[in-house]
């Protein structure tokens, strides 16, 4: 093995030790001292050194007063005075025992009490029972789930779709699955609360741009590009996302998707499109805002929607390319750690999809009705319509605020109550005031629900308008109202004399729905 000169006889080695050069032995001595120091050093956390003395800590503890578990709130808090609905919230809704025309639910296609959907749900209930009792990974995957995912992917013409069991959790789980610390998300100011929670959970850098303002977004993207040029190595590991909604819940407007796609390719960001309100509403066949603008669905990296509006089911889905959606099967927190969608709801959603695919004409009917309602609601003094004419969900906002948010909320509440007394169910748009990033002004929300039945059944939409000069309610004034029978069941009445009131409804049996105030 070794030559004779290099035999490692122990004696020779020890001799070499005695003849070792001094620097080497000194270094070894230092290293031995280093080892001893190491063995006796305490563990410590690097940032944990607190600069408070023991006395200061004691003082702080003395000063602390616990807050009450239940903070004092007024009796008028909306959470304490809620309306109780009995029966299904379809075209007519029974609120607090009173039958009203439903303008508060997002039952856009009227599929909520569709007999086919109900039959499919019942059949599934008899077959599977009610719940799944397990997340998707632990025996919670049923054939109806796979079926629904398949159908949704085919309907939206994407490669794959994934189902969540709660609509809010869909986008709130999808965003943090892809966007992590250090990534950048450009998001619209008017993004809904679910998106905001998803962004918060993602711990990424959020950059807000003005609502639907592509110039502002481009400015932000340009700034980011300049920063990237200064630090290309950091830019290479930073992911950029743009999160927009197809139809914004908070403003009823549609996002300018063609410009967004152009910006996406110019600045290399990925688009996450939240289509909760536009799925089943926009587009020729209800495929959402991509179909509305004629954009190829492959340009959008992820589409997320909840099935609680047009599909009249519960839950949500995301669809897109396979390699994008597959990632959520392990990283989507709402997917992995929640029980899966009850099979009866999945079956109901499949049947609703069937109906949507068989009758593509309902989307046109919905659009027409939306346009009509929007037109009819223009020109109310004191309230302005916020939202596009295509949007089935829009807001009625006070044109002049009274000055304080609470007063505005109260006034709107009175308006809502007044409408309820006249059998029109409206709702105020509610926000968690302390949690919203950009709190929208108080407004009343109207959800148009359109039913399409072949025989001209009770497709009914009625809108009550309460007016008064300066937005005050008319009290004690007798105002009359007439209904005009008409073939289409449409009637529009105006009453002069200081108060303008208009009822617009399309109903065959309008006598029942006539309102007086």
């Amino acid at each position: 093995m070794a030559t004779a000169a290099e035999q490692w006889v122990l004696v020779e080695m020890v001799q070499a030790l005695y003849e070792a050069p001094a620097y080497h032995l000194i270094l070894e001595g230092i290293l031995i001292l280093w080892i001893i120091r190491l063995l006796f050093s305490k563990t410590y956390k690097l940032q944990e050194r607190s600069d408070l003395t023991v006395k200061e800590k004691e003082e702080l503890i003395e000063e602390w007063q616990p807050e009450p578990l239940v903070p004092p709130i007024s009796k008028d808090h909306p959470a304490l005075n809620y309306n109780v609905v009995s029966g299904p919230p379809s075209h007519n809704i029974v609120v607090n025992g009173k039958k009203c025309v439903n303008f508060a639910s997002f039952n856009f296609l009227g599929l909520l009490d569709n007999p086919r959907v109900k039959a499919a749900a019942l059949a599934s209930l008899k077959k599977y029972g009610v719940g799944t009792c397990g997340p998707r990974g632990f025996y919670g995957t049923f054939d109806v789930h796979l079926d629904l995912e398949d159908r949704l992917a085919k309907f939206m013409k994407t490669e794959e779709a994934i189902i969540y069991s709660y609509g809010f959790a869909t986008i709130a789980s999808a965003i943090p699955a892809y966007s992590k610390r250090g990534d950048i998300v450009f998001v619209d100011r008017a993004a809904c609360f679910a998106i905001q929670k998803g962004l918060q959970a993602s711990r990424s850098d959020i950059k807000l741009f003005q609502h639907n303002d592509m110039a502002d977004l481009e400015r932000l993207l340009k700034e980011q590009e300049m920063e990237d040029q200064k630090n290309p190595r950091k830019a290479r590991v930073t992911r950029r996302f743009i999160v927009v909604e197809g139809l914004y819940m908070n403003t009823g407007t549609i996002c300018p998707l063609p410009e967004l796609v152009k910006l996406k390719y110019k600045y290399k960001a990925r688009i996450f499109l939240e289509e909760s309100l536009s799925f089943g509403v926009l587009g020729e066949y209800g495929r959402g805002v991509t179909e509305h603008f004629g954009i190829s669905i492959d340009d959008i990296d992820l589409i997320s929607a909840n099935m609680e509006n047009s599909l009249a089911s519960i839950g949500g889905f995301c669809c897109g390319r396979s390699f994008v959606i597959d990632h959520q099967r392990l990283s989507g927190q709402g997917y992995c750690f929640s029980a899966s969608l009850p099979p009866l709801l999945a079956a109901a959603a499949i049947e609703a999809l069937n109906i949507m695919e068989e009758n593509p004409g309902i989307f046109l009917v919905l659009k027409e009705k939306c346009a009509r309602i929007h037109k009819a609601l223009q020109g109310i003094s004191g309230l302005k319509v916020v939202g596009e004419s295509l949007s089935p969900a829009f807001h009625l906002q006070l044109t002049d605020s009274t000055g304080s948010r609470d007063k505005d909320v109260q006034l709107l509440q009175e308006i809502v109550k007044h409408c309820m007394d006249r059998s029109i169910a409206l709702t105020q748009a509610r926000y968690l005031e302390k949690e919203e990033k950009c709190l929208p002004p108080p407004r009343r929300r109207t959800g148009e629900s359109r039913a399409h039945d072949q025989g001209g059944g009770p497709g009914c939409a009625a809108v009550g308008r309460v007016l008064g000069p300066d937005g005050r309610l008319p009290r004690g004034t007798r105002t009359g109202l007439w209904s005009l029978p008409c073939d289409l069941g449409e009637a529009c009445v105006y009453l002069e004399g200081g108060h303008r009131a208009a009822w617009v409804w399309t109903a065959p049996n309008h006598e029942e729905d006539a309102g007086y105030f």
């Binding site: 290099e6 020779e12 190491l38």
Partner: protein
Amino acid sequence: MELSPHGLSAFRGLLRLRIKAAELPGGVGESRASHPEGFGWCEGAGKWCDLSLLCCLFAEQRQERGGRMNVGTAHSEVNPNTRVMNSRGIWLSYVLAIGLLHVVLLSIPFVSVPVVWTLTNLIHNTGMYIFLHTVKGTPFETPDQGKARLLTHWEQMDYGVQFTASRKFLTITPIVLYFLTSFYTKYDQIHFVLNTVSLMSVLIPKLPQLHGVRIFGINKY
């Protein structure tokens, strides 16, 4: 080899008088708290350097440490990278791996023993530098949204707590290897230069002052 808790406390009992609790290497705090009498009454006894006590303490730590890392199960460890070097049997495996490397190098014909030792030292230190101080992040997704994405394994160990048992072990091993290498190369000059440079490249990144430091922006992102 398992030390039973009884044997341990009996042994500890013999050494109680010589210990000042606060001076001891950390990581044993849990066992201290669990000891019924505590060490409060030992103040003034002074720090005492007892090698057998240290062995006993390390063995205790090893008992608490071993088997905590659950791979592939629903565990609550946010970043398992932090606990890898504390798992049961990993220290022994590591030492055996160095031994294996050495034996493999020794089997190469026409290579002399000092060269083999220097090679062992260099290869070991290079490997340690790459795996502990170059590669960043985790090979799996962590539920903390990528907190450790820019941290090397050394910085991730024990969530950044300095001077834990594993960190000390990983610092001492290259030094011991260096001693052996110096001995077997008969303190030759060229070997000295190579081995010392290699040792410094492995010791300096382990200093707590260099936690998270990237010199000249190398390896920053």
